[in-house]
Amino acid sequence: MSLPVQLLWLIPALPLLAAGIGSLTPRSGRGLASGAAIVAMAISFLLSCGALATALAQPAAHLVHNFAWFDLGGSAVRLGWLLDPLTAFMCVMVTFVGTLIFIFSTGYLHEDANFTRFFCFLSLFAAAMLGLLVANSLLLLFICWELVGLASYLLIGFWFHKPSAAAAAKKAFITTRIGDLGLLLGMLWLYDSTGSLLFYDGGQGVLEATALGGLVAQTTIGGLAVSTAIGLLIFCGAIGKSGQFPLHVWLPDAMEGPTPVSALIHAATMVAAGVFLVARVYPLMSADQGLAHVPVHALTVVAAIGAITALLGALIAVAQSDIKRVLAFSTVSQLGYMMLALGVGSWVAAIFHLLTHAFFKALLFLGSGSVIHAAHHEQDIRRLGGLRGPMRATFATFAIGMMALAGVPFLFSGFWSKEAILHAAHNWDVSHLPLYAGLAAVVLTAFYMTRLVAETFFGSPRSEEASHAHENSAVMTVPLILLAVCAVLLGFLGTPAYPWLQARLEGHTEVHGHPIFEGAGLLMLSIVLVAVGIGSGWALYGRRPRANANALDPIEGRLPGLFAVLRARFGFDELYAATVGRLNTAMAALSDGLDRYVWDAAVRFLAALGEFGGVVNREADEDVLNGGFDATNDRLRGTARSYSAAQTGGAHGYLRTVAVGFVLLVLIVMLGGGV
């Protein structure tokens, strides 16, 4: 089965249709809304598989289908679909994970009153996300990008009656919008410079040699190549959406949304959109690599941001106690990994990690959702514990996810994708700092995941809710199991020995593998680091489980200062509130004050001036002008009285006068010598 590129729009259109159905379904129509969403998603999955088949048949080609959106001046604004292995792999991943999460949601949100609306929003999200993936135009991508943000906003604020959820939704939207403005500016710049926003357009697209050559050739402020500047602006969008430093603050708050939402949007798909975006415009980002005299290369910035984020996220995750926040910061960290990979030049490694991460992070989130659901919405790991016994399936799958994330060697997909990134970082000739950051993050990741599993599943229940937890129904466990299987197997698509996925992404039809132990040193090092992380985590949390919910954290006991800083997430939120928030308020006050006290005052002053003039004028009128008029009028009236005597009231007389006058006139004219 294969899907021609012209029909690619079907993939996002089906969930959109489902969203439309969902929006019109009354609250009682639960089966219809969820059924439509799941069926649409499943069909989209099948179609995506077809698209993948098409793409794999000619992996090097960028199949496009472009069309005019609306006329603009002499030309038109054009949009289009694009099918290449990157799109196809992402589509398959999104639709597959999406389908499973949809199914999981039917169980998770079973009791919610707004069940139909939830599926409407989910479908909307899926449609936008898929649209983003198949877009062959930065504009279309941006449109879907924003719609994805809208869906995220709606879903984070799904429980809008909770003020924290409403605030988190707003925060997410505004924060990502800050990044989006960068993306918008980059897009505008790109459009202005190249006259097109199509990625591939038979040689005319912005990612093709002609346009890139032009962009690289120009320089702009600070000596940057235009392509660098545009690339960095576009990267701003990715920073916002993918929760990168310094705009990562929204992602943890976004956990206010229902857990399936966290799994789908804030772990597997939407947050990865930033990575996807950079990968998609990779030709543009890397266009300046050949330039020697520029102050900075775009990818260097990407690598730096990625490295910082990877480390930062991992550090903060160590001290969080909310099960979902730990996972959220883990996501931030892992996205930093991907950015790092992009920055160091291996976008295929980034996408490989994106795909594997999507599965195991979705697995972890759904697992945590399963736990939360079972524990009656208790999310604090300090109050959980001992769930290994009652929730076997959840525990088993969660452990698989944890091992994949931690990078337990050989069997788990996360290991292979992470290795690919570390290798790429190792091979980067600009700096090795990213590599060191990555290695540090490896230890931390293994550590905090071990902590999470140990606190949640081992020991004994530390609260009423945890002790009553029991395994969930099949509708929730089956997706977990499927995802767990994938989390294991997916790694074998891209082992160094047979890097099939990487080859296909890069457009090769044949695969050139090399022995696994070629870069054995780094490999061994990372295995050791994983072992250290797990071992220390187990040592601190597994061997002596926490006694009760209020007990001190082992690290907190030893390094209270550090732990406090980490728990407070390095104080980013406070910092922003103190700077950006203040500035914002001040700006608003300034604007309002300008209106009230400057412009309005000026208007009032003018009005007063006018009133004063009126008073003066009236005085002058009454004395000077009116007096003169009265005198004249009296005289006129007297004259008029004497003339009015001629009016007799007799019609005959008038007529007679007219006739006589006429005769006289004619006589004057005739006797006076003609006309």
């Binding site: 006739a659 006589v660 005769v663 004619v666 005739m670």
Partner: protein
Amino acid sequence: MTGLLIIALVTLVPAAVAMALRNVIHSALLLILSWAGIAAFYFWAGAEFLAFSQVLVYVGAISMVVLFAVLLTRHTRTDGGVAPDTLGRALAGLLIGGAVLGVLFGAVLSTPLPIGSKPAAAVTVHGLGVELMERHTIALLVVGVLLTVALLGAVVLAASDSRSGPEDAR
């Protein structure tokens, strides 16, 4: 030329007699004849449509209104004798009218007019309609409004008082 003379006769004589008669009804009827003569003049001049319009309006409508007015105002207070100033006024009227006539005749006769002997290109009804609806649309509309207003005004003026029914409006 004969036709014109006959028409002049039919027009002028009844008009003159009508102005002289004491019986207003007879005057009105004679005037109708005079108007018909004018219609004949129009016909003679080739303005066929105008001739019919003249008949329709003057003979059919205005004359009716006149007769009605005469009948409604029969019992005038001074129906009896001749008012004292009548003779003087009549003389003055004749005098002034005669003067106007003389002046007009003089003016007409002393003016050399072109001998326009070219036969009238009869204006067809269709052509007239086209003219009316295209070049003179606004005038047509104004006349329509004028007639409506005049009708309403006449009804209001002639209606005796508010109590009587609508048929009194006539």
